[in-house]
Amino acid sequence: MAEEQQTGGPADSPGRRIWATGHWGPTEPEEHPAVIAVRERFPDSFVDAVNFRDEMTIRVDRPALREIVLFLRDESSLRYNFLSDLTAVDMLRLRDNPRFDVVVQLYSIPRRQRLRVKAAFNDGDPVPSMTLLYEGANWLEREAYDMFGIVFEGHPDLRRMLLPDDWDEGHPLRKDYPLRGYREYVQPGFENPAPRVRSRFRRP
């Protein structure tokens, strides 16, 4: 997807943009300290760095994800010590392989900068868990497991988060999961059970 990204939309108002205030560090990947440091330290695992709307995304290989995030957390010139968000994206419709992206949004409280780290992987590949680095990753990873079926290696308590524990219909945020589920279910007041509808809104 990185290659396809455009560098920005049409400009509608002149002057400084309220969202472009440097919260993500330098806009050129070559100048960004985190990109430089990660590329130096993990030359094999570093894939590329993309900037879109001033947001810096580092793409890395899955097995080294935890080491890289640990490095970003503890390196004294970077100190991305705060995990903003951890989630996943099912890339089923955008590329063939690998299927998922795990997205880690980092923030450095002392340096006031954000950074996004992404790692791609296929269905069934274990993803290194961030719970050893950030306790806050616990529920976020449980949610990602619940919604996408991603197995986080090293997670202490990988159970379903939002869906019931006995939910047996798969993982709903996957792109091949129909909007209303696999089952037909009885609707009160209607004779026929609700049909299996993918979506009211078809993709163009």
Binding site: S76, R79, I109, R112
Partner: protein, 238 residues
């Protein structure tokens, strides 16, 4: 007069029946309720004997306090986990039965061979009225003639309380129950790792005094208080 006897028989009958029921009941809470009924009826019998003070104290102390504590414990017990009350071995049963008979016989002997029957003591109704009532009478007796036994009882009860505290104390070798965290000043605006109660905030901090001993630190600059002083030093060294 007949009415009084009738009431007395009724009360004591209920007391005896519920005392028996207290032993027979399988559920300990039901037993406790049976015991409450016994106590209340005994208190009523006391009132018939013109011992109102004794009756009220019986209710306050036994039904109001001791039995409530017993219930407190019983409610926490799962009835399924209790041992079978009626499942003793034959020898135990025979021995227990014999012991009960002996105790009953003792009481019977004591009643039958009593010597002071029908001889009024000093606390007749007139004697009672002279000191002002049975509360005053009991008070005078307890705190004049029986002052030493009363004090001795108090001492024994105190010892019992201390003993109970000692026995109920948690074992030392056990892991301590996770307790409430202590409040220490932990803000990034303060020096770290100190458990003193009052620690001066960094001089740069803009302090707002809140209720009592609490302060709020008002951060005007976005870079204030985002890292510990030690971390900053480390960063500068490198």
């Amino acid at each position: 007069m007949a009415a009084e006897v009738l009431v007395f028989n009724l009360l004591s009958g209920i007391a005896i029946v519920s005392a028996a029921a207290m032993i027979m009941m399988r559920n300990p809470v039901h037993s406790a309720i049976a015991l409450v009924i016994t106590f209340v009826n005994v208190a009523a019998v006391f009132i018939m004997l013109r011992a109102e003070f004794l009756a009220v104290v019986q209710i306050i102390v036994y039904t109001g306090a001791i039995l409530v504590l017993i219930l407190f414990v019983l409610m926490l017990v799962n009835p399924d986990e209790l041992p079978d009350f009626h499942g003793a071995r034959p020898m135990q049963q025979i021995f227990g039965f014999g012991l009960g008979i002996i105790l009953l016989a003792e009481i019977a002997v004591a009643i039958l061979t009593r010597t002071v029957v029908a001889e009024p003591g000093p606390w007749t109704e007139d004697g009672m009225a002279a000191v002002g009532g049975n509360v005053q009478a009991i008070g005078q007796v307890l705190y004049s003639g029986y002052v030493l036994p009363i004090q001795a009882t108090a001492l024994v009860l105190l010892a019992a309380t201390i003993g109970a505290l000692f026995l109920g104390r948690p074992d030392e070798d056990e892991e301590p129950t996770p307790s409430r965290r202590t409040v220490a000043t932990i803000s990034l605006a303060h020096t770290r790792g100190s458990d003193q109660d009052e620690i001066p905030a960094l001089s740069s901090a803009n302090i707002k005094h809140e209720a009592g001993d609490r302060d709020l630190i008002m951060a005007r600059d976005a870079d204030e208080f985002t890292s510990t002083p030690e971390d900053d030093q480390k960063g500068q060294q490198e």
